[in-house]
């Protein structure tokens, strides 16, 4: 099965593992991820201002490129996923933006939100299936207590992201179960780590990341997993709790027995 794939800027630099383990795992699962040619950075944050349009064009270009290939577009970084999905929603609902984008881009076939954007976790749940994934696991986690950290961007706003219940999600917990771990549910799993505030207000990021990690630790977590490079950075760097934080794709590749491959 072939999918267009949008890695995003951070997966080419500081979060190479997130990308590498996803590709190795996809291959092992019979999924062909074809990286979009000439993709541009999504900008990291979706601007909620309806008249902010130029900064959303890079997302429209990626969405249109996937449409041209007739493929669904797979994302991995939580921020890219959030931005692409919200811009895609704009391209069916924000009439003023749609007109301006069409007038500016002058594409032969104007883009109107046709591409389906799916996160790698949704690919595992909805295309592969967690039951099938379980059958392919060769190194199960052996009941390790793993805490899923959703953060903000995977789930909200839920009427657009439509991945899972925004207050009581299960997708990463189901993933952990499928690869042989025991999911740890804790109150702060969908609260913010501080995000980009780390750049100008480190103490603030320390407070928020520590709250998340203490909450996971108190509930018995031995390890935390995430899909977001900035969450991983904040928890690792700014969370005042010694608990390993990893990308979910690393555990996946390990479970599938492909972690050591290149």
């Amino acid at each position: 099965m072939k999918f267009s794939y949008y890695p995003g800027c951070t997966l080419k630099t500081k979060a190479k593992e997130l990308d590498k383990y996803a590709r190795l795992s996809a291959e092992a699962l019979g999924i062909d991820l074809v990286e979009l040619e000439n993709w541009q950075c999504c900008g990291g944050a979706y601007s909620m201002a309806k008249d902010e349009i130029a900064s959303k064009l890079s997302s429209v270009r990626a969405l249109a490129a996937a449409k041209e290939k007739g493929q669904d577009l797979v994302t991995l970084c939580s921020a890219c996923h959030n931005v692409l999905k919200q811009v895609n929603n704009d391209m069916t609902t924000n009439e003023d933006m749609i007109n301006r984008v069409h007038n500016y881009m002058k594409d032969e076939e104007p883009y109107n939100g046709e591409t389906k954007v799916i996160h790698f976790l949704e690919l595992l749940r909805d295309v592969v299936g967690f039951d099938k994934l379980k059958e392919k696991v060769v190194n199960p986690l052996g009941g390790k207590k793993v805490a899923a950290y959703y953060g903000c961007l995977l789930l909200r706003p839920s009427k657009i992201m439509a991945m899972d219940n925004p207050e009581n999600p299960t997708i990463i917990e189901d993933f952990i179960r499928a690869i042989g771990g025991e999911p740890v549910v804790y109150p702060y799993r969908n609260e913010c780590c501080g995000g980009y505030i780390a750049l100008e207000d480190k103490n603030n990021a320390i407070k928020k990341s520590t709250l998340v990690m203490e909450s996971a630790e108190k509930n018995g977590a031995e390890e935390i997993i995430t899909a977001c490079p900035l969450c991983l950075y904040n928890l690792n760097k700014n969370g005042a709790v010694e608990l390993p934080v990893k990308y979910f794709t690393e555990l996946l590749a390990e479970a599938l027995g492909v972690k050591g491959e290149n």
Binding site: G8, C9, T10, T13, K14, A15, C41, G43, G44, A45, Y46, S47, M48, A49, K50, D51, E52, S55, C77, A79, N94, D96, C152, L153, L155, R156, P157, S158, P166, E191, C192, G194, G195, Y196, I197, A198, L199, E200, D201, N204, K208, C228, P229, L230, L232, Y233, N236, K237
Partner: protein, 129 residues
């Protein structure tokens, strides 16, 4: 989208949500992870925009405290989605000449070796034009 000289109208149009739908329950501020750091809190953005009291909002650091975590957007029971007003005011501010909150030459001092690019591009999106 036509341009108006009326700041209040422009902010409401840019936000795309209706402050009059607010029932003053305060859930936005209660759920905001950064509300404690703000001079004007999310619920105050809603009623001050409704009153047309935009200038104080443009001149407060609170517009740079919103983390864009969408918690208030998700949890507002009336669909007012307060972060959209914070964003609209922030955008109105940084679009003005010389009002960039983050400048490129400030970046080297803020970097550490692990900081993901995502943090830098996001900060530029939020703080500068």
């Amino acid at each position: 989208m036509s341009f108006s000289n009326n700041l209040k109208e422009n902010v409401i149009r840019s936000a795309g949500v209706d402050p009059k739908k607010c029932m003053k329950c305060g859930k936005c501020t209660a759920t905001c992870p950064n509300g404690n750091e703000m001079e004007y809190k999310p619920h105050q953005f809603v009623y001050m925009v409704e009153k047309g009291d935009i200038e104080p909002l443009m001149n407060t650091d609170s517009i740079y405290k919103c983390l864009s975590c969408f918690a208030c957007v998700e949890r507002c029971p009336r669909g007012v989605e307060p972060a959209k007003f914070i964003e609209a005011v922030r955008v109105a501010k940084i679009r003005k000449q010389g009002e960039n909150h983050l400048k490129a030459d400030m970046i080297p001092d803020l970097l550490d070796e692990d900081l993901p690019q995502q943090a830098i591009v996001t900060a530029f999106r939020k703080y500068s034009k």
